[in-house]
Symmetry: C2
Subunit: 464 residues, 2 copies
């Protein structure tokens, strides 16, 4: 099965040619993958999770991977396959996820989220960018090299189904399959670049602690005229608690919240200050009337180097059309914090609890439910993998990649760091305006095709 | 059709006997009425509104009322009928509504809201107490007197279908039908008593101004990791605005909100202080851990004599199971104020707008939608109608009624005051623990049967 080392360059050139002539076929395949409504957080979609895992496994089988299997976890399964045909060469563990975010508000989608639709240069579908496009891109990169004479490295692929809910079963899975997953280099494709013409490599990811805060008042909903004025309205009390979590300068008020926040090195600060970024362009992209954030920090610091606390959802009382004069029995906020090194997700949960104990009035009851947590992570910028990724990006885009701290969270990166002792290379091709987790998620097709080429160059070069 | 004046006492006695022997039949009829899901705020229930209006009209026809009709309005229709057979005698306009509140949260109902179910001494159904029970009770009172020889007064009945949404079409309707509705005395049955053994008469109702406040941030939902930290989360901004509407003493902070609030007379303060009331019993009835309210006022003052501001609903972002890491594009709060004499609902809307203009940050946009408004009202305590009602209550319950200020709002009372120049007698038989507007609304059947008798005595005596 192996090929001669001398063939690698001609293999790579052949693979790139192959990719350039197969755009249409790739797009058709990706549309098939993106049409599977694999929403991990909604239990009604359980059969779709299985279908999506099988779709990934089928791809691996199709390119002669061995030991392809749908491996069970406590939650949604993991698709696994390996191509271990060049003994003595390094082994790369490639990570992706086949699950996607929910689609509501559905009425804001211009085309149905699971009927992938091309408009202009983009493919619109839930999961198109996060991250079925990236999964499909690395699969096509591997396939194009295998078809062109073989891979110069050994590869193991895992595609999991719970990233969008915080990968709650994956740590146990990685622990259980430590030997099967052993590797020299890890590639995490759940990532993006700055702009279509500015490639980048992520070296830090924020952690995530996600909670539901419930505030309870009366035992059941009451008539707001008959009882209003005599009770602390739980929706009001919830608003008071949430409002108090930031001060007037945008600082988070949880006791001790900033104690362990890592200060950037001078190099990093300088890199960050020189990244291509315009506050006004960023604002325009969001459509917000003004930017907002922690005082005394730049937008890029706020996005990557500083922790945040966001309200992800609010629900209380009557929310239908018109009027219902109810004094609600309860109110709920979904609240999540993005953590930075060296904050500890366990400590953060306690800090939130401390805040509530100190600030919740005796006129209501409250309950805090932890939905998921994940540690922040930093990866080394000068590993074999990172160097190969930087070279692959420069060759593909014609521009040197910049190193960035990403605001999002990818739980598996710290699991692989802890359990397998390997830092991940974060290489993927989402764009900031892809509407991740939002209506009208899209994938920029020219960037996706370039991404396939960049992955191909990475796999061709990372073996040395 | 008329009967001799001398027959009234024997007619009344006969009617009371009739009532006592027809409990089962009345209950069966009421169950039929309460089974109609006449939810006025939900457009899907439009056919049910027609059915409920027809049910009421059928009852009027069945007891030989004239000119019975379903009269159109801009919204849901009004059932009308008249019994004008004793010329020279006063005319009483009787008001009720056939519409009901929405039923959510549906899963908290022990029996389906439109499958009326008797458990113990109560009938459970949406609208059983508010106010199909009261409508049915005055219809049965009228019927029992007519069957027993005739009414000693003239009667006009209107049963409308929009009370639960603030009676938006009724003012124009009353204006248009001024002559048809002309009367000497008005009876409004949308009311209640303090306890099953403590009758009461309401002489003041709070007004209601109901709004939706929308806060907008980015143009669409964003990934909270990618964008979090750089934008003012609209759910957070909404919480900040709502939290600021009360100060630490429970006072409402809208500029000028208390300027016109009427101070109770010494008599009223003394009456209020002597009403049967226990803070601890009230708290227990609600199930809240503690009472709460405006500092320096008693619970009964807070409930009847002071204005309030309540959050009736909150909605933003992701509210399904589990985690979705979204920075929402918008957040909504339903906010309503209960107003007391002599606050003006138009001025209150402007005060809320002023508050938002002064306090909303430039980092978000906001919009205020008025859903409904209704003025507060005071009625005279010493009219013919009020005296007849007090006598009817005392005779039926064996206890003198107390005069109370009710926390709820009944828009039609001020319309009839303004348009027809008549103060309403507020006589009805709901109880504070009937779960009005809440899951498991119920009607206390012994009180309902007594209510029929009390209405009968009122109609028998109010003619003089």
């Amino acid at each position: 099965m192996g090929t001669h080392v001398g063939d690698y360059m001609s293999n790579l050139n052949h693979a790139i040619e192959l990719i350039k002539s197969h755009h249409e076929q790739y797009l058709a395949e990706l549309i098939e993958f993106a049409a599977i409504p694999s929403i991990s957080t909604l239990s009604a979609h359980k059969p779709d999770m299985q279908r999506a895992a099988e779709w990934a496994a089928q791809q691996l089988k199709g390119m002669s991977f061995s030991n392809v299997a749908i491996l069970p976890t406590r939650g949604h399964p993991v698709a696994y396959g390996e191509w271990l045909n060049v003994p003595g060469k390094p082994t790369v563990l490639v990570y992706g996820h086949y699950d996607v975010q929910p689609v509501d508000p559905l009425n804001e989608w211009l085309s149905p989220p699971f009927e992938p639709t091309v408009r202009g240069e983009n493919l619109y579908a839930r999961g198109a960018s996060d991250m079925k496009g990236n999964v499909h891109a690395f699969l096509k990169a591997l396939q194009s090299l295998i078809t062109s004479g073989g891979l110069p490295i050994n590869v193991k692929v895992i595609v999991e189904g719970e990233e969008e809910i915080g990968s709650p079963s994956l740590d146990a899975f990685v622990q259980e399959h430590r030997e099967k997953l052993a590797c020299d280099i890890a590639l995490n494709a759940d990532s993006g670049i700055q702009k279509p013409d500015q490639p980048s490599l992520v070296y830090g990811l924020r952690g995530l602690s996600y909670f539901e805060l419930w505030v309870y008042g009366p035992e059941h909903d009451l008539h707001s005229g008959v009882f209003g004025g005599s009770l602390h309205n739980p929706a009001q009390a919830l608003c008071e608690l949430v409002a108090g979590m930031h001060d007037a300068n945008g600082h988070i008020t949880l006791p001790g919240f900033y104690d362990k926040v890592r200060v950037l090195s001078e190099d990093e600060s300088s890199d960050l200050a020189h990244l291509p970024h315009s506050d006004e362009e960023w604002r325009k992209m969001t459509g917000a009337p003004q930017l907002y954030g922690e005082k005394d920090y730049s937008t890029l610091e706020r996005l990557g180097a500083r922790p945040t606390l966001e309200v992800n959802g609010l629900l209380s009382g009557f929310t239908g059309e018109g009027a219902k004069t109810v004094l609600p029995a309860k109110a709920m906020a979904k609240i999540s914090m993005r953590l930075v090194p060296y904050q500890d997700d366990t400590e953060i949960a306690q800090q939130l609890r401390d805040y509530l104990e100190q600030n919740a009035p005796a006129t209501v009851r409250w309950e805090l439910r932890t939905i998921s947590t994940c540690s922040p992570v930093l990866v080394k910028r000068d590993t074999t993998g990172a160097r190969a990724a930087a070279a692959a990006l420069e060759e593909t885009f014609g521009v040197r990649p910049v190193f960035v701290l990403q605001g999002g969270s990818v739980p598996v990166v710290s699991m692989i760091q802890t359990r397998l002792g390997v830092d991940s290379v974060l290489l993927g091709f989402g764009l900031p305006d892809d509407n991740l987790h939002a209506p009208n998620e899209k994938l920029h097709l020219p960037t996706y095709y370039r991404g396939i080429e960049a992955f191909t160059r990475f796999f061709a070069r990372v073996g040395g």
